[in-house]
Symmetry: D3
Subunit: 339 residues, 6 copies
């Protein structure tokens, strides 16, 4: 199946191990971004994953492109132009010290995309699904308009459209995010959010005070999904449920709400290697099992198992195979050596 | 005391840190193998540990030899010949993601050993103990015959013989393993196994369904040991008891069954740095305390404390001293800085 | 505010990651020492932190100086002379394997300080606080006499004086420590200790048997503080409370005893990256909040939150900002990515 | 233009920097092999480079595949199967110490290729050029027969065929090499060799005693090319001319012999970073400028400039762009910073 | 002596060793920039070196500040503000492959400096010398006006003013550079240039064709210096003379032209470790020996010896001591171990 | 053949690559020392090399011991005791920047050796040769007396005795060196020196002014050897001849003077990876070829070829095989890949 994602890929610069920014004499380099991460997971799950973006023509842009190609992503519609690759610096947290992100993504090649860079009719040729996140329209009016055009053509061509709200307060205000995302929701079939996104963007609040208490309140999450569905008539709403004991230990689960029914996944207790991209791998897992027409309980279980494994992998990308995800779903989280 | 072990030592190639195989731009190199690991531990416990094997004459073989020598192992009976050093690639697991092993050991110098490579009468001169594992006879008919010859001479010379079942399904079938190991058991005084080995090789099954549930069923393990003893008249049977909560957290204990009596060690909750070689360090601890004529409870406690420490050490080898093991046995598992 | 600390800074050599000493082909290099660590924290909390010491004039000494300068520490009174920079080798523990320290600090430039090296009247010009630890006087009679001179001048100039007992059995005997520290206590306004220090130096024992059991006995710690106060009339006594489950997991809290009142901080459960310097960052937090005239409960909470974060940071130095410490105090220990 | 190459790609394991094999605690990992290297260079020169091979299905094989994909190579005809990826260990030389190679490539997936693995009619669809080296037929009778089939179909489809003699004495005898290569030469349009290959395989000897003397004897090389052409009627013969002052300093030039005319390139004096793959990048440069229909002098100049740059790049692959090669050809070998 | 420099400091990201950009999985991080490099050298030569700049307030900006402080640079007038630290990516060249630089410095905090950020009267208090380069005014009109204000105040206060032309074609056109630099030259006492700068900015051309031929034409360089002096009445003109045999081997010398007299330094043949910052260390050497009132021959010799050593040091900064430079000047370039 | 060497082995701490001391965030760790290096080379040349020394019992001492064992050195007479392992910090030079050494070896375990630590009658049992250097007696009166005892017993037992003058001005004065070495020379059969040693210790000066001019004056060196022989009646005198063009490029040759005859080796032009231990590998080469009874020309050629290769190897130890040395002697210094 062919899935198209559209967004920015950035250079991720990270001090080695648990070094703080001011200790770094070098930075580990990865490439990632919400929509690229989803494409990567889907390519690894043996789909035709087509990532659409814009990269500078210099060698740092080339490195980003090479990283996409190495994963088997279709990069035919990655255009080259502009001056810089967006950067995000990340310092890995531990214990009570949270991870820190410093964005240096303004003026990136992607953020200065032109409408003429993307031929959506060609891009969507033969495609089944289109995925985007709330980050792309936050990067500028040009991207809102490009994305809107893409969504119109996607709907014309009967693609399923999914959106991960992915609200970033450093990129736009809640008010602006509401205005824009509100206008885009009618194109969306499948909405993915975490409970903070829903509140930040749509002011839909789960009815409990503290996300860090280690207990999930099922009823509240169902209400968030229900309210979202009532407003925008999504076919599916998926919510990721993270309980953060510390930067080193999290719990992770998910809810799929479809046809007025709620499906909760099992909850995993995770020792965290890298939590960046956890949400993206959840999205990819959901798209994959949806395209396979799995039953709804399996879909949310697969999405959560997939993204649970992501948390044990360095970098933005979920380098898990379908076989590994299935083994985890079927109960083996014991970490025995496979030999 | 002089202990002889006989087996293969391999080059272990591991992506750094928690990288997956496909992320590796380099591999950390260690050398290890069940029987070499036992010899290493015993050398570190100040025994005369003589490791018998066959290595290619090129520089990669030389590196393996140097690693053995650096630990104080007697390498006088390591012969040189053949073309390649066996390799195993290992990717370290974390949280719900298990470690992965890819074997590339076929056609190794050791697997192509000739009977004439080993002069067992000379090798066993002055020796007290001979140890082997189920891996060695799985590597070919030549090794079954060489090992059988060694065992005959060992028994003639009144050595104590120990065997770690160490069943590897990628190396031989259960049926073949049964046939061969069945024929070798009459030479064995001390058998070491985990519950899976006993089931895979001898079809002796602990009476409970799931090894990963975090609870040990003492009665079942005693039954396994009893059944093994009944069949082959071992003087001692030792069973390692691992409970795997995740790739990052395990519990670890052991059972020694001797003279119809069962001795269980305390159980340790471990944060895992490297679990490869855990069983081998258990064997070495057991041999060491047996040679010291410790009481049976102390033997299993020492073996388990020793191998518990192994799980906190990178590589195959248990670089723990007798003093450190004794400190852990006497109750200090608190991790306070020793200064 | 200007704070002066006086002590030794050493080169810290550590095998990378969890390697044992005998596995190291390289050593990570940090610079640290109790009093330097306190100065570093205070500089990072935007104080004028003046570190007084003696370093060899060669380039290894220069590296230590550069590391202090990079943190914004005032190094105007670091004198240069002598032959060697003290070294301590440290091997990081994990799980049941404790960290190991090997000291190689004898004959260091600092330990051979002369009285003429330090002009305390100039050093204390404009200063508000003087801090030292029990390590400095343990290094030789010259340092006892230099320190005593410093304390006299500090009191003349009405500085607040704090002392961290920091008993090191490899540096001096308990009897010698008692004699010296007993003679220095009259100069001290604020005493910091852990329960082992109080027992080792002053034979004041908390009334319970085992520090590693995971439960704090509040009454006992209060009694230690009370007894110390009774003897030496400290204005404040602060005690750090560590419960060591393993080298990887600790609990951490603190007690401030002042005006016959006890203030206990919350207790944190920590996944440990590096526990060296934990006590020093506690001291710095306490000095900082004292200089800010925070209420007593806030002082101990700040000191403990500050040092809790230290445990998540590699090296001796607590590279936490006031903002980060406040966030932890106000309840966010969840490790969510800050973006 | 579409170029097809057929051969083995191996894992290359190299001690870091100038470490000798016995010093290595880790190995840098690259992937390379003569025909893969040629494909990589051609992909970087913006051709449709299709590499045909066989890789094991495990993750080490996958890593090799990913490395090919990252460079933009068409891997559609890389089949998966067999057990192992061939390995070569390489130790980098310096000064008077030559580089060392230890092959561990026997029993590789590629060497056990089946005729049914490759559908040459499909592979050559739309192709202009087919390139192979003497290594492929040295790996076994199966590969001789597969290659012969490929050559027959290539000629049917009017592809230009090039062959790099690449004699490896560890892989086959001179006599066997002669027999096989002799039978394959009729299919070849463009032959690439160095003077040692020509002597080892075809017993054609350049008329001077010592390749390391730093002086090139043009007449002798022309005679070699002439003799090769006389025997096999090649359209072009290209010979690389290396003068080795030491492992750190080499001179490098080339000769193209075509239509009874000789074209010598300029000679470069190189400080060597990595000489592996130098010949392969020469081949790729020659194919590229042939496909561009450059004049003959330009062809040899481009091939030599291209491969000169390779010697300054780590790994097997020549990561040079056409623009960089042209700059070097047009005289800028000065190493000024491009900013 | 107090020297003030004003300019941008950037994060320099470099693939390790000789890796090309597309091979990098990590980047070595340094901080540098022409004026910061000069300040660093002067601080290491025991001057009061005050670097004036603007850095973002986030932790990457803090790291740049810390690097300056570690070297003993006075950072009192480094203001904090703006969003990003400028970046330059650099790939180290070797042999015929030149180093590559990719600038990503647009929109940096420094480039968006406000006039109100700098209080030049305070900054120049007690100062003897002011140094700037042609890079600063190339970054925008705001910086031209800030710099002009600084120069006016510097001249009022009788500081010596030096300028390194440092033309960068990626930052501004030759025409714009001419206009601006022409207007700034009247403030300048000491001009530093290489022969390309003089041509690019002032169209003053040395009368020989090729800078890479390995031969210096003294007369031509004197003419350049004479022409510059004629036009702008500089007290001193210094010209660096680089002959580039390859990226690995350069020759290096300098000319000082003062009072119609020419002073040429000896020429050094260098094996290059890192040539970035070579010109800056030359400037610092010249300022240092000028402030010491050395005779003119010694000045140019010191400047060239100083910058010769820089080429053997990684990073932008010349970490050489006065003693080392003097040893080289007095003839010891033999590289014998100092022990 | 059994060769005994007696001396100190130290921890060598080196900033990675070409970093200066103040840039180091880690140190590469090697173990070395003149006499240990000689033993290592001889073990690698398949002799029974017995190294006699004293190491602290802690784990850093153990690491030194393991490094010796890994090379196959007989460590039976390495005693354990004392507090510290001597350290030397080394910064690698390049181009005009010489390597720097900072010694931190005072108070080492070895320097505090007791006479009772060494049982020379046992040590020399079966030995053929005893080697020491001028460093050992420079470390204290205890070592002079221990060494003298060793020499007496060695002569009683008819061992050949060799001495490398190895004068270190940081360890003792020339006057003291003269007194001691003068008293030891009567025991010595084979003296090794470079021309500086001969001058520093015995005031025998080669008759030319500058060792760095690149030209060897054969007559002068012969005169030095002759004068040494005249004074002390050595059987052989060997002199190493280094010409230092820069820290990166040296020339290297040697002279053997025996029976009034002079034998000069060829001279090698070397690109230097690591020159530490160059003299020691020369000694080992000389001992080896002497023990093999090679003719005198072959002896000096072997010694020089052996030590030439050392300069291409990181660390103190010459990891070259006899086969490699022979290949270099027979003319292959071309650096062609051995495959």
């Amino acid at each position: 199946m062919k899935i198209v994602t559209f967004g920015e890929i950035m250079l991720r610069l990270q001090p080695p191990h648990y070094q703080r920014f001011t200790q770094a004499q070098s930075f580990d380099a990865h490439f990632g971004g919400g929509e690229a991460n989803v494409a990567a997971s889907l390519a690894l799950l043996n789909h035709h994953a087509c990532f659409v973006s814009r990269l500078p023509s210099h060698e740092i842009g080339q490195s980003a492109l090479n990283s996409l190609r190495s994963l088997g992503i279709d990069t035919h519609y990655v255009v080259r132009g502009g001056e810089r690759l967006g950067i995000y610096y990340i310092e890995k947290g531990a214990s009570q010290r949270p991870s820190q992100v410093i964005y240096d993504r303004a003026y990136s090649s992607f953020s200065q995309s032109l409408s003429s860079d993307y031929d959506w009719n060609a891009i969507f040729e033969g495609a089944d699904w289109f995925h985007f996140t709330g980050i792309t329209p936050s990067l500028g009016e040009n991207l809102i308009s490009i994305l809107t055009e893409a969504l119109e053509i996607a709907k014309e061509k009967n693609l399923t459209v999914s959106c991960d709200l992915n609200y970033r307060k450093k990129l736009w205000s809640k008010a602006k995010a509401y205005d824009v995302m509100h206008s885009l929701m009618p194109y969306v079939d499948v909405l993915i959010a975490n409970e903070e996104d829903a509140q930040d963007v749509f002011d839909i609040k789960a009815e409990f005070s503290n996300a860090n208490q280690g207990k999930l309140n099922h009823e509240s999450y169902i209400n968030v999904a229900k309210e979202l569905t009532n407003r925008y008539h999504f076919k599916q709403v998926a919510i990721t449920l993270r309980t953060s004991m510390s930067a080193s230990e999290n719990q992770w689960a998910g809810l799929l709400y479809v046809n007025h029914q709620s499906y909760f996944s099992p909850q995993y207790h995770m020792s965290i290697i890298d939590r960046v991209g956890g949400g993206d791998s959840f999205v990819a897992g959901l798209i994959h099992s949806s395209l396979k027409n799995s039953d709804f309980q399996t879909r949310i279980n697969f999405a959560v198992a997939s993204s649970c494994l992501k948390h044990s992998i360095e970098g933005d990308i979920n380098l898990s195979t379908e076989d590994e995800i299935n083994r985890l779903m079927s109960g083996d989280g014991s970490g025995r050596v496979q030999r």
